[in-house]
């Protein structure tokens, strides 16, 4: 049986890792290489590494940095931030990324998701969908949540799937960093609308939140950051608890 993944997210800015609230109010939380090494020792299921300034600053991905991180990462690594071309993806895969996360450029660069999927396969394209609640309902935001669009996340996720995305990384901007729980309704709406796995992101503060988004939100995986940066909880503790509830969790020599 396919196991439910618990995925730490690392947000990179300038020279280190940060974590904010609502895609804002960033705090420094450590060094990237050290964090990757710790998560590797802890045998986490998968890592998400996002360079949150690259797109806004018009930078390409930092291949040297990813090369260094990947050398210590014997688990799957998804890399995002600044990816705007097939060439960017090719170079990231060459230095050790297993999947790429494409968000703003999926909206702004016509055909990018389709071209990357054609060339490297749908399985390496994680389409990142950042969502804000508006009076008109859920709307997709781009550029690290700063630029609103009129895209409905359900329709947009369906389109991304049709273009060749292999997974959706679905983040609630309002819940991000609050540790008040995922937007379970949003996750269920998107997850039920697509046939590809949806990774829930934004809001995890405890195991109950993760359980809710998996059970009621129909997420295939749960990504989280603050809960690992600011509480004592570890990925393994969350997994042990969920395993007790009957969720399929990866066997580990650390149990």
């Amino acid at each position: 049986m396919l196991k439910t993944r618990i995925m730490p997210t690392l947000l990179y800015r300038g020279s280190g890792l940060v974590k904010g609230v609502g895609f804002d109010a960033w705090r420094t939380v450590g060094a990237a290489l050290q964090a990757v090494r710790v998560y590797n020792l802890r045998q986490v299921d998968e890592l998400v590494f996002l360079d949150i300034d690259a797109t806004r600053e018009g930078r390409a991905p930092d291949y040297g940095l990813i090369d260094d991180l990947a050398d210590d990462c014997f688990m799957p690594l998804t890399v995002g931030g600044g990816i705007r071309s097939v060439e960017h993806v090719k170079r990231l895969l060459e230095v050790g990324a297993d999947k790429v996360s494409i968000g703003s450029a999926a909206i702004e660069v016509e055909g990018l998701v389709a071209n990357v999927a054609d060339r490297f396969g749908a399985q390496c394209v994680v389409a990142s969908v950042d969502v804000r609640s508006t009076p008109e309902g859920w709307r997709v935001a781009r550029r690290s949540g700063t630029c609103p669009t009129d895209l409905c996340p359900i329709e947009w996720s369906r389109r991304l799937e049709a273009e060749g995305a292999g997974e959706i990384l679905l983040t609630s901007v309002e819940r991000d960093g609050t540790m008040q729980g995922y937007d379970v309704e949003l996750c269920r709406a998107v997850s039920d609308a697509v046939g590809i796995p949806v990774i829930a992101s934004g809001g995890a503060g405890c195991t109950d939140h993760v359980r809710a988004v998996l059970r009621e939100g129909n997420a295939s995986a749960a990504a989280m950051a603050s809960v690992f940066h600011f509480t004592e909880l570890t990925p393994l503790e969350i997994k042990a608890e969920l395993r007790g509830d009957g969720f399929p969790m990866r066997s580990s020599s650390l149990w």
Binding site: P76, K90, G96, K99, E167, G195, S251
Partner: protein
């Protein structure tokens, strides 16, 4: 041992190289088909589209070189993910669009059935076909050990004897193939931490 890792523009080579190093091998990245006869074992990694993968091997002259080394000189071979799929007779890409593969394992590569979410991404169980340890690659791997998968297509061998392992996803699919000194794995041993290293070490041992 020198292990050649073939680079043909189909994805993440670095992780395979690093994992082989950790397992005690001396990996050599091979861009030039003429250098393939300098290694004691060959690993063909790769992700992505079947047709593109075969075309990329052909363009770089790897098909003849692989046939000569792996079939002719019996150099041990391990295909990973797309590298496993390319072993098959032919591969599907979109409805009724087929490309010829290396043809070392008789069978087709086709899309996973849509009764589960596709792509199949994440950690899933691997059940070695030969539980007596007869197959060198999967020796010592407990049935049901979790490995990392990320793929939309899978090999369907014609001959049941080619199955080295199976994985349940809806119906069980073939997650590893074997034919004498030729192996292929659908999962990523280089991303499966300790379980993956055991498989890679088994391969290196079999290649000695």
């Amino acid at each position: 041992m020198n292990v050649g890792v073939i680079r043909y523009g189909a994805g993440n080579i670095d992780s395979v190289v690093r994992a082989l190093e950790v397992c005690g091998a001396t990996p050599l990245v091979i861009d030039d088909a003429a250098l393939l006869d300098t290694v004691g074992a060959i690993v063909l990694p790769g992700v992505g589209a079947f047709g593109h993968g075969m075309a990329a091997l052909r363009e770089r002259g790897f098909i003849e070189a692989l046939q000569s080394e792996v079939l002719g000189n019996e150099i041990p071979f391990l295909g990973i993910c797309l590298g496993m799929q390319l072993l098959a007779t032919r591969g599907e890409e979109g409805p009724e669009r087929w490309h010829d593969g290396l043809g070392w394992i008789e069978g087709d590569v086709s899309r996973l059935p849509a009764d589960e979410r596709v792509p199949h991404v994440g950690w899933n169980e691997v059940y070695p076909a030969d539980t007596d340890g007869g197959d060198a690659l999967m020796r010592g791997i407990d049935p049901g050990r979790d490995f990392y998968f990320v793929h939309s297509y899978r090999v369907v061998p014609d001959d049941a004897a080619a199955w080295a392992a199976s994985t349940p996803y809806g119906a069980p699919f073939c997650s590893a193939v074997v034919r004498e000194h030729i192996w292929g794995v659908q999962f990523h041993p280089e991303k499966s931490q300790s379980a993956g290293f055991e498989v890679l070490k088994n391969f290196l041992e079999a290649a000695c």
